[in-house]
């Protein structure tokens, strides 16, 4: 399936180009736009970006895969990312990960069967003082308890 930016995103992309002296610099913002539009970076989208930016699809693939936040395959609708770095561990992130695995009946790196959630552990999210914490999509949820996790997940359909 080929990939095209929506009209709105194409405008955003063109606006982004103006910020840099070279086109290539717009690659990271462009990848963000792709992910915003369809949830992941498909091979077809990389071909489209290659044409737009005058780069090769291989270059785009090698760059995108360097960064952990670009999803190189489709994932569940809501991406739960639990910080499991040292400071969060000191305040209980090991327990948070354990609870989520049990609750969602999946392992880290998997999506639930209904495609509702995807669970990852990530490195420091800059939220050490409010640990344990998780990021779901663009939102931080901090000072987590089991009850709080239940309430947060309940609201996400």
């Amino acid at each position: 399936m080929s990939f095209e930016f929506t009209k709105e995103n194409l405008e955003k992309f063109e606006e982004t180009l103006k910020r840099y002296p070279q086109k290539r610099a717009a690659l990271l913002p462009a990848l963000w736009l792709v992910q915003e539009q369809q949830g992941w970076i498909s091979p077809e989208s990389m071909e489209t970006l290659a044409k737009l930016l005058g780069l090769t699809p291989a270059y785009i693939y090698e760059t995108a895969t360097f960064y952990t936040m670009y999803n190189m395959k489709p994932i569940g609708r809501h991406h739960i990312q639990v910080c499991n770095s040292v400071c969060c561990c000191l305040r209980g992130s090991e327990e948070t990960v354990g609870y989520l695995k049990k609750k969602l009946e999946i392992e880290v790196g998997e999506s639930t069967q209904d495609g509702r959630f995807h669970l990852s552990t990530v490195e420091c999210l800059g939220s050490c003082g409010t640990a344990p914490m998780m990021q779901i999509d663009n939102d931080y949820h901090e000072d987590l308890t089991e009850e709080k996790i239940d309430q947060i997940l309940e609201k996400l359909k």
């Binding site: 290539r24 936040m69 561990c89 000191l90 420091c124 050490c128």
Partner: protein, 434 residues
């Protein structure tokens, strides 16, 4: 004493430009546009301000590395100069720059205008870590407000000085906080550090002179230009003037971001600011500057102050102020496991000693923690670490991965030996403790 960076953090709506202006935001601009660029640099040099991103390098001095021909106006063939605000904040334990953005973003933008004026830059970027999405939104709004008020754009306040600021979102790579990796990422590539020299001040973004400053460093500038270098130097110690934002976490009663005067004893910080160690437990160790540095034992911590010199003398670093505390129940082997996992995950993979070293260190520490360690493993860890350090790699990431390992082995070696001898971890609970 009223502090420098956090003085308006409790003001409701300080994020909004009208409120910020009432509290003095952007006041320094009228003053600096009457000064020559060199005079602004001189004032910052005199203030003794040192970079808050971790290295503690003198900010004013860094600015003077921009080639002179770029500073003098009127030359046709000169390259553009770029200013970059390093908001990639990713060092485990560090969350202070986030506080600046959430509580007083205009202070940071004003600081960027001052720095850009001083180095002759007309395009500046904020490199913000991808995870900070809400913070990215806050800054977008603040930039828009600043443009509307005429603090950004063409001919700012009639001074003839032009400046645009754009945000550039990272996408999840610790290494992009390293300034040359940041530049590679800004240019649209993998976040690979580059060999220095040339330093970014000579050949940075797109081969042009570039200054990369940490967000907290930039946020200090409005005070320095408003009140003067002498007023700034009243805070802190002689060699580490000013205040420092400390991100406090771990086994304490009151985690959070605190602005403290440089030189504050760690004991005072823990007992008075942080409400002491939690659960009435005893202190076991402190990492004062982020996960890349050696820990201090309780005894060492009580004899150390929060400034660059005192921390260096104690064999660690004030770093980025990522201060985390471990109580007496903490298993140091398990703690180091989580630290080493981070570095193995985040090595960019360019240099063999780092790519391989961080992976092996991670595996060996994991097996010790699981009780499968061998007696020679402790020596093996030291050998691997020593082969990663001191200029064997393009950037200092490998040193940052090795220093905590050597530090924990030196100070808590007995715990590692115990794990090997017992063939298991003697601690039954997680790092949070019972």
């Amino acid at each position: 004493m009223e502090m420098i960076l956090s003085k308006n953090w409790n003001v409701p709506d300080q994020k909004k430009i009208d409120v910020a202006i009432k509290n003095g935001a952007y006041a320094s601009l009228k003053k600096i546009f009457k000064m020559k660029r060199e005079e602004v640099i001189e004032e910052v040099k005199n203030s003794g301000l040192r970079g808050r991103g971790g290295a503690g390098f003198a900010t004013g001095l860094k600015w003077t590395f921009i080639p002179k021909e770029n500073l003098s106006s009127g030359r046709q063939d000169k390259k553009p100069v770029y200013l970059i605000n390093n908001l990639d904040e990713s060092e485990p334990g560090t969350f202070k720059d986030r506080a600046i953005v959430e509580k007083d973003p205009h202070m940071m933008i004003e600081g960027m205008i001052i720095a850009a004026y001083a180095i002759g830059s007309h395009t500046a970027y904020i490199y913000i870590r991808g995870e900070y999405y809400k913070q990215w939104e806050i800054i977008e709004e603040a930039l828009q407000e600043a443009r509307k008020k005429g603090f950004l754009g063409k001919n700012i306040l009639g001074s003839g000085f032009d400046l645009d600021i754009y945000q550039h979102r990272g996408a999840g790579a610790y290494i992009c906080g390293e300034e040359t990796a940041l530049l590679s990422s800004l240019e649209g590539g993998r976040g690979y550090p580059r060999i220095k020299p040339p330093f970014p001040a000579i050949a940075g973004a797109w081969g042009c002179p570039t200054i990369v400053n940490n967000t907290e460093t930039l946020a200090n500038l409005p005070f320095i230009l408003n009140e003067g270098a002498a007023a700034y130097k009243k805070f802190g110690t002689e060699k580490s003037p000013g205040t420092k934002l400390m991100s406090a976490s771990g086994h304490i009663n009151k985690p959070g971001v605190y602005e403290v005067e440089m030189g504050l004893p760690i004991r005072t910080f823990i007992e008075e600011h942080l409400g002491g160690v939690w659960k009435n437990h005893k202190l076991k160790a402190v990492v004062p500057g982020g996960s890349s540095f050696a820990p201090l034992t309780a005894e060492e911590a009580w004899a150390t102050n929060l400034d660059f010199e005192s921390c260096a003398a104690a064999g660690t670093s004030l770093g980025s102020g990522g201060f985390y505390v471990m109580d007496e129940t903490t298993c140091m082997v398990r703690l180091l496991c989580f630290t080493s996992k981070f570095y193995a995950h985040e090595s960019c993979g360019q240099c063999t000693p780092c790519r391989e070293g961080t992976g092996w260190v991670d595996q060996v520490i994991k097996r010790i923690e699981k009780g499968h360690g061998r007696e020679r493993d402790l020596q093996l860890l030291q050998d691997v670490c020593k082969n990663m350090m001191n200029g064997r790699t393009i950037c200092v990431f490998a040193d940052a991965a090795a220093m905590p390992v050597l530090g924990f082995l030196k100070k808590f070696g007995k715990e590692f030996e115990e794990h090997v001898k017992l063939g298991r971890c003697p601690h039954t609970v997680s790092l949070r403790g019972a």
